[in-house]
Symmetry: C2
């Protein structure tokens, strides 16, 4: 490791290759330019090592940035043979080494124990990881005395804090735990401390099964690679995973970490990158920002590691074009090469990610159709609860179409690192609204959240989900344990036909119960409501709050439509129209809602929502969402402002069978959904055709105009 | 004109030069590619000539597109020597010639008389203009019989309708009138009808002073070139102006149209282009879309004509970079050449555009600071009322900073060409809200609109405005006639100092009256409220409407702060924070408002507003707006979330003198505003300095920390 020309993650030869990308208009070229600018800015500021502050404060930001600069200036120094940059990194380290031992512990702000630089130890782990990578790059040219003083003043006390002071936390299987073992392990490799390396890989008990990197890999992800907290925290956990895995593979290939636990790392990279929408953003499942995307550092490392160390599928390489920059590393170069010549117009493929330690705790369907930015992407969630960051959103739906999220996730109530928003921490409205069932696109039962909004209870349960046969993008999910005495099923599919340019989303949500309940079907939409069709909309003279708990206390009722068994509404978002049509058996009231009631601290976004409400024992909500037309406001061009579906009808049929009729100007389409028990039966189309045998979950029938249909059980 | 190789606006030699730009990544190359695609798409559809329909309908859109394609296919045919494209244009013309005479008149939808293709004659003028340009390109290769049939079936009846049937409208000085004379004049040049050309240039009475193009040029714009309806209609009026002016200059240079009326055309081009924000959008003054920009066809022609026929200033050429395409014309090539090598980092310059036929009816100040997209742009309006499209917004303010409009214009209540929004026409909320005073950034008196919301009354009046000395971007405006017994004055300036990265907007709004009035200072902001500072904010339990008329009926009150003489609030929009601080002498209540009450048809956008209210005889609202910090949500980086102005204070001083003290972490800044009567007096800074003589409207004094200030009259 300490051999001249080997800097833990980089060799001199690799740095030579990376250097050749300087000035190029590609991801590596842009990342190198950004690195140069960052280092230059820090050198211009000089060495600034402040005291302690709040998240988002000058002190907090400066400590964070200094760690990046320690690694970055050392890397830039080696890349460009720049002695001043190397000296700058060294001086920063020396500055911290001079004061770190004497710093008091920070104030704890949440359940996370405090470090010295930051109010949560997690930030200090991240700090150590970057500083250690910087040390690896500097080490060959440091004097023995300087090296020793850095160890004594900074790296040893940090290791001591992480592995002794907070020993009880070190083995915790958690995304924070992954940062802890990666930081300690990488530091240990640089300063050559075999004991620390051993516990960071195999855990405190040395078994590799209850703590340490190997256990984290095996236990943190489902066998298929899914991360229980969802993509936002997945991309955060994958960052140290990529760095530590690469370091171990380079220096201890005998540990075979890249194939550990049935290739869990590769699967995890696949899942993370596959969850991204066509525009590179991650769906904001559970606690998550709505703008986190593939340009996150963790996601950049993930894409690079996948391209360099595994076989990256064309579909994911096409998605890599959404990344503006890349990991400044040999793996980043490998990605650059892999991406070259890849056709970006790759058909997206539907995937089901199974959840839980044995892959038996439900899962998450990602339905996809189309290519590139024009692709559609639906997420239906029926897996495990996301622990402390989980939302009560079993059978929750999100939908990306025509370049935007159409059925929107609300995400978290938090402005990360914005000091003036409660120090950048989670806001109380995160519990009050964002996590609650009503903040998601699903049916709320009795105005209450699933699992009584109890994390511990929800953690014990999960839904079930499978993909549908007969359709490239369809799924059926069930959850019988979210509400006492109510079984929920949701079937969702993207229907492609000659009648529409963009596939249509069908959504059949069935609730089964012996007792009457209030069912609220709800979704968040964007843009501007154009018009409610049919049912007359009444705007309210004064806005009232929808309820007093489970998120309803944060919803304004703006207007309503009288109870009816059919509702339909069109909205305009950006350059596209979207229409929703819904049929119920019992009449449902429809409400137009806006988030933001009871929000004295301005912690909620004023997002728009629609809700339909009815009271029944069992009931099915048949919904259809279509993207249509176009509007260019600047050029004042518009077309296709009216829905393409002229008529949406549910035909009578036996239990377990759903027959939907969609009428367009261009003809009629039947969509037949059959549960397994009904497969093998026949449908008669009364237009002279012979009976149709149902062989799969989904059957599409393009009908001549006058044909009539009946079901013969 | 009919000479082989001369197609009215294009010569064969010019087309050869334009052709060389094909495939280039520049504005001309992109416009050529767009033209090719448009023509190809139309040829693929074939000849479709539908009946009559609503605005935004298939019929309406197809007629509009056909006129573009007649010109476009003919142009593309000549450019690429493509006989099929020429034939396509010819067939379209022939198709219209076959049916036009027999078409009934459309249904009139507003005060505009109906045409045959469209429900307002304006659209038919536009149609004729494009079709005539197409005919000019086709003419040399048309058979005599075909040419005659086009004239008899289409062009003659159109001319007849415009100049005989609607003769009483032909001379109207109005943007519609400009389209009428340009369409008739260009058609007349192509079909060689000297009588029609004569009336289109000199008007029906032949004097050139009451109607026709020359009168339109002289009367529609102020001597400085300002167009009374504002930029949105200006860019619309300038389109036929550019086309007809170019045609006359080419074929009747003896008319000297380009220098007519003291070079009115050149001045008008200057004003239009100078009103655009740094991002190329036009401020939405009066009835206007919020997204109309320099890529509008009229604005493209304007920029090209300016570059080709006049001396275009560097500042405007730099702005031309915001145009994705250009006029496919020799003037477009001239622009392309002019733009090359122009430094885009040009310092923007403040301008005052005088309004009214003699330039004596007030005006509009455009204060600018900075370069390129980072420039700031303030508009303060104190000119004429914009006729039927005017808003009651004397002393209204808009502010662009850090790439966005920070103090926002609401614009019009209309979705142009969206059939499902009232056929794309003006919505009743345009009168109900958008035009009313409270929909603008100003002080509303007694909850009423200026001039009692009476267009006829407002048209007779105007404000007064001048630029301030001592500041590169400052203005003072007055209006004494908007409300009985209340004189209004507003002083606005952008203050650059060592204390802030981005200049600060200062806004001193004074109302003078002998009777008590309710004064509502109000502004529209975007983004998300971060926090009210100092005054405690109370969110309301139920939202109530603010009033019952003059736009107040469309405002929800969301929350309020108790009466105080100081209010301060920070919001986050995109990647930047903005803070507002206000001081009043009398305590003012502060309200947080949202647009959208009493809106059963969803015709209003739910924009955010702030209002401070007090009752007084005379009163000054001292406001300060600062742009600060940065937030990158995707990267979760944030800094500078707190205002940079720690303290904002008004120091005691005599009438006509305003001394504002701004305290930053880096020191104090005094801003002294002196009306002319006070200039020549002295200020004493009690820190050992000698008295400061006030010599200009604005004096900035950077103060040592402890200095005290007093005014010795």
């Amino acid at each position: 490791m300490s051999a001249q020309g080997d800097y833990l993650l980089w060799t001199r030869g690799e740095l030579d290759e990376i250097r050749r990308q300087q000035g190029q208009d590609n991801a590596m070229g842009r990342s190198l330019a950004a690195l140069e600018a960052r280092v230059a800015a820090s050198m211009a500021r000089g060495i600034v090592i402040p005291g302690q502050g709040e998240a988002g404060s000058f002190e907090h930001n400066t400590h964070k940035e200094n760690a990046r600069v320690i690694e970055g200036a050392a890397l830039w120094g080696r890349l460009s043979d720049n002695a001043q940059a190397l000296a700058h990194a060294e001086e920063l380290l020396a500055g911290y080494a001079a004061c770190y031992r004497d710093m008091p512990y920070q104030v704890a702000r949440n359940t996370n124990p405090p470090g010295r630089l930051f109010h949560q130890i997690l930030n200090e782990h991240i700090w150590l990881l970057h500083a250690s990578l910087g040390l690896a790059l500097l080490k060959p040219s440091l004097s023995e005395a300087r090296y020793q003083s850095l160890l004594d003043g900074l790296f040893q006390p940090m290791l001591e804090m992480f592995t002794e002071t907070y020993r009880h936390d070190f083995d915790r299987i958690h995304n924070h735990g992954l940062w802890a073992v990666a930081a300690v392990g990488i530091c240990a490799m640089v300063i050559e401390s075999p004991e620390h390396l051993a516990i960071s890989i195999d855990g405190l008990d040395g078994s590799g099964e209850t703590g340490g990197f190997l256990a984290q890999i095996a236990l943190l992800f489902s066998p298929q690679g899914y991360y229980v907290e969802g993509p936002y925290y997945h991309r955060f956990a994958i960052h140290p995973l990529c760095l530590f895995a690469e370091a171990i593979e380079r220096h201890h290939p005998e540990r075979r970490v890249l194939t550990h636990a049935d290739g869990r790392i590769e699967k995890s990279l696949h899942v993370l990158l596959s969850t991204a929408y066509p525009d590179g953003r991650f769906p904001a499942l559970n606690d998550a920002s709505r703008s986190m995307d593939l340009d996150d550092e963790g996601a950049r490392c993930a894409m690079s590691l996948l391209a360099a160390r595994y076989e990256a599928p064309r579909e994911l390489l096409a998605l890599a074009r959404q990344q503006q920059g890349c990991w400044i590393h040999a793996n980043g170069l490998a990605l650059l090469n892999a991406v070259q010549g890849v056709d970006t117009q790759v058909e997206a493929t539907t995937q089901l990610f199974r959840d839980g330690p044995d892959g038996q705790s439900g899962g998450h369907a990602h339905l996809k159709r189309g290519q590139g930015l024009a692709a559609q992407h639906v997420v239906l969630t029926a897996g495990q609860h996301g622990m402390g960051h989980g939302h009560f959103d079993e059978l929750g739906l999100s939908f990306f179409s025509r370049g935007k999220e159409v059925l929107k996730e609300y995400g978290f109530a938090r402005w990360v690192n914005v000091e003036t928003k409660f120090g950048g921490r989670y806001l109380k409205e995160n519990e009050g609204y964002a996590k609650q069932s009503v903040a998601h696109n699903l049916v709320v039962v009795d105005m209450q959240s699933q699992h009584a909004a109890n994390h511990a209870l929800a953690d014990e349960r999960h839904g079930e989900i499978s993909l549908l046969t007969g359709c490239a993008a369809g799924t059926r999910a069930r959850c019988d344990n979210a509400h006492d005495g109510v079984a929920m099923q949701r079937e969702v599919l993207l229907v492609e036909s000659r009648h529409t340019e963009t596939p249509i989303l069908l959504d059949v949500f069935t609730l089964t119960s012996e007792q009457p309940h209030v069912y609220d079907y709800t979704f968040h939409h964007g843009g501007h409501v154009v018009r409610w069709w049919g049912s007359e909309f009444t705007a309210l003279d004064a806005l009232e709050v929808m309820g007093d708990r489970h998120g309803y206390q944060h919803l304004w009722k703006q207007g309503q439509c009288r109870p009816a068994t059919g509702h339909s509404m069109t909205w305009l978002e950006g350059d596209s129209f979207h229409s929703w049509h819904q049929i119920t058996q019992a009449p449902a009231e429809a409400f137009q809602l806006r988030v933001g009631a009871n929000d004295p601290d301005h912690n909620l976004r004023p997002d728009a929502k629609v809700m339909t409400r009815l009271t029944a024992t069992s009931q099915t909500f048949y919904s259809l969402f279509e993207s249509h037309g176009h509007f260019d406001e600047a050029l004042e061009q518009c077309g296709g402002a009216r829905p393409q579906v002229i008529h949406f009808r549910v035909l009578p049929s036996a239990d377990g069978l759903t027959i939907l009729e969609l009428t367009f100007a261009t003809g009629r389409l039947l969509v037949v959904l059959a549960e397994p028990a009904r497969q093998g039966e026949s449908l008669t189309l009364e237009a002279g055709e012979r009976p149709l045998r149902i062989e799969q979950d989904v059957t599409l029938i393009d009908l001549p105009d006058k044909a009539r249909v009946s079901h013969n059980a």
